[in-house]
């Protein structure tokens, strides 16, 4: 005996199913990068603000001194990339929640993608092409090792 099917509304967009497990990996990614960011950011703040002369030590020379070491170059690059991928993916989730028109979603997702990639590229450029001893700068503002370079 066949009974009539209950009429179900058009099913919700099964967009996750076209790329299987995409949302699962997004979720796992947030759980992994969250704690890693926590360690990176807390250490970053501690070194910059609590050690040495604390907040008053931060100037051009301090930043230049840090970026002279490959450790802090990699550290800051990691912070930059993870914060943007984590924050960017988080914003993607929020766009999915709040932007209901497909075209609005597309526009916002594109803008977000461009911003994330743009900021990562610019930030990485600054970290790795940074010149700690610009030629015509006031020597009193430069890190101490610049005297040897000159």
């Amino acid at each position: 005996m066949m009974t009539a099917q209950p009429s179900v509304r058009p099913p919700r967009t099964p967009s996750g199913r076209t790329r299987r497990n995409a949302e699962k990996w997004s979720w796992v990614f947030m759980r992994i990068t969250g704690p890693v960011l926590l360690i990176l950011i807390v250490t970053h703040l501690f070194i910059n603000l609590m050690t040495g002369d604390g907040i008053s030590q931060i100037d051009f020379a301090f930043v230049a001194g840090k970026w002279a070491s490959p450790l802090w170059q990699v550290w800051d690059l990691l912070m930059l990339v993870l914060a943007l991928l984590h924050g960017g993916n988080g914003m993607r989730l929020l766009i999915n929640d709040y932007a209901h028109h497909p075209w609005l979603r597309k526009v916002l997702h594109s803008a977000l993608g461009i911003a994330v990639i743009g900021i990562i590229v610019l930030g990485a450029l600054v970290i790795f092409s940074f010149d700690p001893c610009p030629v015509d700068a006031d020597p009193s503002l430069l890190p101490s090792f610049c005297e040897d370079v000159r």
């Binding site: 179900v8 919700r12 967009s15 996750g16 999915n96 709040y98």
Partner: protein, 254 residues
């Protein structure tokens, strides 16, 4: 000598005046309000501290304004018909005592959020039930049916005991901020309904259900806000059930 029916009652509960502020909507409109417009209306009723919000709503409907619309059936927390937003929290009107709400202030009663309002406190539950149907809330097995019950050890039963208590009241789903903003999310209740079968040792449809919940609109929409756990009138640990489903999906083990 017969009973003491006329003697002063021992520990009599005093009657008091309570005010209910109800968010009303009439699809046909009233003299003062356009069709579909939502507006607040206050009612004063005499009630006892031990009365429930449902009793106060009944008094309004039966004695003051018969047009007030709300759902209820069992009046004892079993059927799940009368979930509503009372003082900004989702609860069953039939399980909420006035004395637990500070009756000195107006008690604010709204329809549950996130589902289309049909009239006053009645919402269209169809999108909610559609999500429930999608996770296949029935036993799925293969092979011949046994000639007797499908037995199960108490330990196996314990794994999904909590989620069998669901009465489909929608208090959890309509307390979820993700459900409010995004009409697509299955919502906590559908995951509770799936949990009840996924962790049932007799069921063989687990991976079909898990596949459905692995969707973009499935468990990964959950941000662990815990609103659902706080709202559930059956005391189901909804967020925990959702986490258990996520864990199965990430580890691949039930």
């Amino acid at each position: 000598m017969t009973a003491t029916a006329e003697s002063p009652a021992v520990g009599e509960v005093k009657a008091m005046q309570v005010t209910l502020r109800i968010l009303r909507t009439n699809p046909e409109g009233t003299d003062d309000h356009a069709p579909g417009e939502s507006y607040w209306q206050e009612f004063q009723v005499e009630a006892h501290a031990t009365d429930r919000v449902l009793d106060a709503l009944h008094k309004i409907k039966w004695e003051q304004d018969g047009s007030l619309a709300f759902r209820r059936s069992c009046a004892h927390g079993v059927c799940g018909s009368d979930a509503m937003r009372i003082n900004a929290r989702n609860r069953l009107a039939c399980k909420t005592l006035l004395k637990d709400l500070n009756p000195a202030k107006p008690i604010i009663v709204e329809p549950i959020k996130g589902l289309p309002v049909e009239k006053d406190l009645i919402v269209d539950m169809e999108p909610f039930f559609a999500s429930y149907r999608e996770i296949m809330p029935f036993l799925v097995t293969t092979g011949n049916a046994p000639t007797r019950e499908r037995l199960q050890s108490p330990e196996d039963r314990q794994r999904f005991d909590d989620t069998t208590k669901c009465i489909l009241c929608a208090a959890c789903t309509t307390s979820c901020p993700v459900f409010w903003t995004d009409g697509q999310y299955f919502g906590p209740q559908a995951i509770v309904g799936a949990h009840r079968f996924i962790f049932d040792s007799r069921d063989e449809g687990q991976w079909d259900r898990l596949e459905i919940l692995n969707d973009k609109a499935g468990v990964w929409k959950c941000r662990t806000a815990f609103n659902c756990t706080e709202a559930c009138p059956r005391g189901i640990e909804v967020t925990k059930a959702i986490s258990e489903v996520k864990k199965v999906l990430t580890t691949g083990e039930i």
